[in-house]
């Protein structure tokens, strides 16, 4: 624990930007040498590889079979056959289709089944993934055959297949374990994102949606956004509020959760399970339902305004067009209400993990409870939850639901198709989904993405929990 604190202190002294700069510099400095190493390896295989390796270069698995490595040989051979079959049956036309994006427009009225450009883009993308995968396996096949050659040349028994499989449960256990999650993430998270990125380079959207044929337009969309006069002022206005929102809401959720955890952790509190149930209730009702409930509660006809008017006051437009900061504050409140429960649970867990000796020492030294919190509790919890904090920042930055459900869409004066409480993601939604301009929306999300990911990545990379993961192990 004390070790950790000292690490923290040290980090603070070093200028974060200098260290980040050094990192980038060293990456580029090392780039040529890493490339050289790879090239040398390839050169070695090409120059030293014998006939059997050459056989593997022609047909995958052939060399292995010649070395009587049956199991591996057959697996590689099957891969070769499977890929060829895929290319012949589907992959080839998918791949070419990626570039043409279709030649015949379909016409359902007369029963012409033409090309669906969007599907072609997606399938083309899959064929490119397949080709990359093929190259990776092909290289692995050659390397494998060469390593057999090396062991045979040095009169060693080549590794039996069984042992190699065994290694997948031991030294290379991570390969086995991560295979499935990685495939899943690639197919269902990365592929759709790549798809969205390439859409930014097409004219998909507006009138041009299937069955109309879509075309590649290069950087047109980006050029249009950057030259559009109305775009920049709205962008910066919303961006400023979005940053403020993300910082404030993350801080509120985090510290309120921590405070609640500390409160319910007090020794004098009895019936902790019961008390904790109330925030859990908030967790159990789906978020969009609670947001609709909040919208109603703060509406002109809702219970809060009814109470105000009954007490003789005039109704307050908490969320209406003139609301301005009231609406923003209610957004912060609703978001806190939704997220504090989970951050409380997290903080509770982390607090019960703390070493209490430090507190004893602090008490002996006569430190006030506040000082104990600032000097001991906070650094510890911050360290332990930094990655979670960053992912919370990101999800708050992209928090679509809050203002979508609370306020709905509004186009206000001084904004280009947005309202004063909209976040970038709401604005993006107005422009792309609501108005059907997918390619422009994709281009804007790329711009937003570049800005935000640079910010959050630098924070993450500079955070102590990323730099010294092993502190506790």
């Amino acid at each position: 624990m004390s070790n950790n604190v000292s690490v923290n202190v040290k980090e603070k002294k070093a200028n974060p930007f200098v260290s980040l700069g050094n990192k980038i510099a060293s990456f580029f400095k090392n780039l040529p040498s890493t490339l050289n190493k790879k090239l040398a390896g390839a050169k070695e295989i090409v120059t030293q590889g014998n006939g059997k390796v050459c056989a593997s270069m022609c047909i995958m698995g052939l060399g292995q079979l010649m070395y009587k490595q049956w199991a591996k040989g057959i697996i590689y051979l099957l891969c070769q056959v499977a890929f060829l079959a895929y290319f012949v049956l589907k992959g080839a036309s998918d791949f070419i289709g990626f570039f043409t994006l279709g030649t015949t427009e379909s016409n359902a009225w007369v029963g012409i089944e033409g090309d669906n450009s969007v599907i072609m883009m997606l399938m083309g993308l899959l064929s490119i993934v397949a080709i990359i995968f093929y190259i990776v396996i092909y290289i692995a096949n050659i390397k494998d055959c060469y390593s057999i050659q090396c062991s045979v040349d040095t009169l060693k028994e080549p590794k039996p297949f069984k042992k190699e499989v065994g290694a997948l449960l031991n030294q290379k256990f991570y390969k086995t374990a991560l295979a499935l999650p990685i495939v899943g993430v690639c197919v269902f998270s990365i592929l759709p994102i790549v798809f969205m990125i390439i859409i930014a380079f097409t004219n998909y959207g507006g009138d041009i949606v299937p069955p109309k044929l879509i075309d590649w337009v290069g950087l047109d969309n980006f050029a249009r956004i950057l030259t559009l006069g109305q775009f920049a002022p709205t962008f910066f206005k919303i961006f400023g509020w979005n940053i403020l929102w993300a910082v404030l809401s993350t801080a509120i959720n985090y510290f309120a959760g921590l405070a609640l955890a500390l409160l319910l952790n007090k020794k004098i509190v009895k019936g902790k399970t019961l008390w904790r149930m109330f925030p859990i209730l908030a967790y159990a009702v789906p978020g969009f339902i609670t947001l609709l409930a909040f919208k109603y509660m703060f509406s002109y006809g809702g219970p809060i305004n009814q109470m105000i008017t009954e007490a003789g006051g005039t109704a307050i437009g908490f969320l209406d067009i003139d609301a301005g900061w009231t609406a923003k504050l209610i957004g912060l409140f609703a978001n806190a209400w939704l997220n504090i429960p989970s951050s409380m649970l997290l903080a509770t867990g982390i607090l019960s993990n703390m070493n209490t000796d430090l507190y004893e020492a602090a008490r002996v030294d006569g430190a006030s409870p506040f000082k104990q919190f600032v000097k001991i509790t906070l650094p510890y919890v911050l360290f332990a939850t930094m990655p979670v904090l960053i992912s919370q920042f990101i999800s708050n930055f992209n928090n679509f639901g809050i203002f979508y459900f609370l306020r709905g869409a509004m186009y206000m004066d001084g904004y280009f198709l947005a309202s004063d409480s909209d976040l970038l993601i709401n604005w993006l939604y107005n422009m792309s989904i609501n108005n059907n301009y997918y390619s422009i929306g994709a281009a804007i999300s790329i711009i937003i993405f570049i800005i935000t990911s640079v910010i959050s990545l630098s924070v993450y990379v500079l955070s102590p929990s990323y730099k010294s993961e092993e502190t506790y192990q």
Partner: protein, 479 residues
């Protein structure tokens, strides 16, 4: 070494050759397929067809849809075709689901929704001349479903079933007892409150005053453009030019539409803050039942909700039938000022819509689907639909027979006082800007003196011009 390099190169070359030649052949082949098209409506019913029909939720809830399916299935059992509930959400998007085979065969939706599918050719142009109701449906209703059918001429893309339009709902028993003396200046035996917005406005102010702000006359949220656009239309505003077909001409500020905007602001001032958001929209049923509101405007399909609430409030059927009345929309003062009757009155236009049946381009049974549409729009079925759901039929022969609200709406459509919602795709972009505008206008009635945004007609005009620009931006800037 050379051997190894050539092995790798050869391998790569073979794979590349396979991909490129086969790929190009594939691309070429798919192009060659095209050209063969055939007439879909041959008149021959497809044996064994099972039609998936999308209806709206109200028709399902009230049991009409079951009756329709049963009647159709009995009639057409001899041809071996039947129809079933598509079991999809009523707001299903055919553009999204149809091409992949998950859409319905026949769909019943609003005209603005259906006509959005025409550009992508998701619904079929129909040979409507053969349909029984062809001569019975009014010109205006057909017009909502006309569009270019690809050959340069106008095709019909759906068969109108009913006309949607707003009506005034009020409580007869809440009229002032002495209305014959006090509220019938024109002496036609009909209370002026129900005939002229000026009187409705005065009555609303009085009722609110007398009850100490607890009871109101006319109440209605202005948030929904569907119910608020009519005031702009009445004074010369329009949504799209060339009969709602030209998206480059947006005219909410045209003519003297600012007077309509002023009407909205004045009416809002006779209510309370709840007209700014949509708080009173769903609350209207119980507020009418409790007598908090005297009148509101809504579409006839929700009549049963008023009845349910009245029953819950303890009134018997007889009382409800006598005192819960649907009437035509009152007339507007030509001056645009609800306190100035000197320039006479003009009819109050309202936005409306036409719902109809369309046939998906992706159906395997176009002829059976057409048979279903023909059956569902027959005289018997439309009469039954009117009876069970209280809709205003698009068929004139049915409309002539029915009384009350349906007749009023059919008549309003014929006289041009119901402006049918634009059927072009760009219509989707008018809602958010207009919603913001109407909220702003209603809010303005409750702003403190120094903060009022629209105190002159010029400023109102400018607001309308700005909204038109916003809509234009939403449609064209990014396109």
């Amino acid at each position: 070494m050379g051997k190894n390099i050539s092995a790798i190169v050869a391998h790569a070359a073979v794979i590349l050759a396979i991909i490129i030649t086969l790929g190009l052949v594939g691309a070429f082949m798919s192009g060659a397929d095209a050209g063969a098209g055939s007439e879909k409506f041959t008149g021959e019913l497809e044996q064994g067809a099972v039609l998936k029909v999308l209806e709206n939720d109200t028709a399902k809830r009230q049991g009409y849809f079951d009756e329709l399916l049963a009647a159709f299935n009995e009639e057409y059992a001899q041809y071996g075709i039947s129809a079933v509930d598509a079991n999809l959400s009523e707001s299903t998007d055919l553009e999204q689901d149809g091409p992949y085979g998950y859409g319905p065969d026949v769909l019943y939706q609003e005209n603005d929704k259906l006509m959005r599918y025409v550009d992508g050719r998701h619904i079929l142009p129909l040979p409507v001349n053969d349909i029984e109701c062809f001569d019975e449906v009014s010109e205006t209703a057909w017009k909502a479903f006309l569009a270019d059918d690809g050959s340069g001429s106008q095709g019909v893309f759906a068969v109108p079933v009913n006309v949607q339009g707003p009506l005034l709902y009020y409580r007869k028993d809440l009229l002032p007892e002495n209305w014959q003396q006090e509220w019938d200046d024109d002496g036609d035996g009909i209370c002026d409150i129900l005939q002229y917005w000026t009187d409705m406005y005065r009555f609303s102010l009085e009722r609110r005053e007398e009850s100490g702000g607890k009871q109101f006359g006319y109440m209605r949220s202005f948030l929904e453009p569907y119910f608020s656009l009519g005031y702009l239309y009445s004074y010369g505003g329009y949504t799209f030019g060339k009969d709602n077909t030209d998206p480059s001409d947006i005219g909410h500020s045209a003519g003297e539409a600012e007077k309509g905007a002023y009407i909205i602001k004045q009416l809002a001032g006779a209510m309370d803050e709840r007209c700014i958001d949509d708080s009173v929209t769903t609350g209207a049923y119980s507020a009418i039942a409790s007598g908090e509101f005297f009148a509101t405007i809504t579409t006839p399909d929700v009549y049963t909700m008023f009845v349910d609430e009245m029953k819950a409030a303890g009134y018997d059927d007889e009382f409800i039938a006598e005192n819960l009345v649907a009437a035509d929309i009152p007339m507007l003062p030509a001056s645009g000022d609800l306190t100035d009757e000197s320039q006479g009155f003009i009819p109050c236009k309202m936005m409306g819509g036409v719902n109809g049946y369309a046939i998906s381009s992706y159906t395997n049974y176009p002829n059976a689907a057409l048979a279903f549409v023909n059956f569902a729009t027959s005289y018997e079925m439309i009469s039954l639909r009117n009876e069970m759901l209280g809709i205003s039929p698009a068929r004139q022969d049915v409309a002539e027979e029915v009384q009350g609200s349906s007749a009023i709406i059919s008549n309003n459509l014929a006289e041009g006082n119901i402006v049918v919602m634009p059927s072009i795709k760009e219509n989707a972009q008018i809602w958010t800007p207009l919603q913001t505008l109407f909220q702003d206008l209603a809010r303005d009635a409750y702003r403190r003196p120094g903060e009022i945004k629209y105190d002159t007609l010029e400023k109102l005009k400018q607001a309308l011009v700005d909204v038109d620009k916003q809509i234009y931006d939403a449609i064209f800037t990014l396109a």
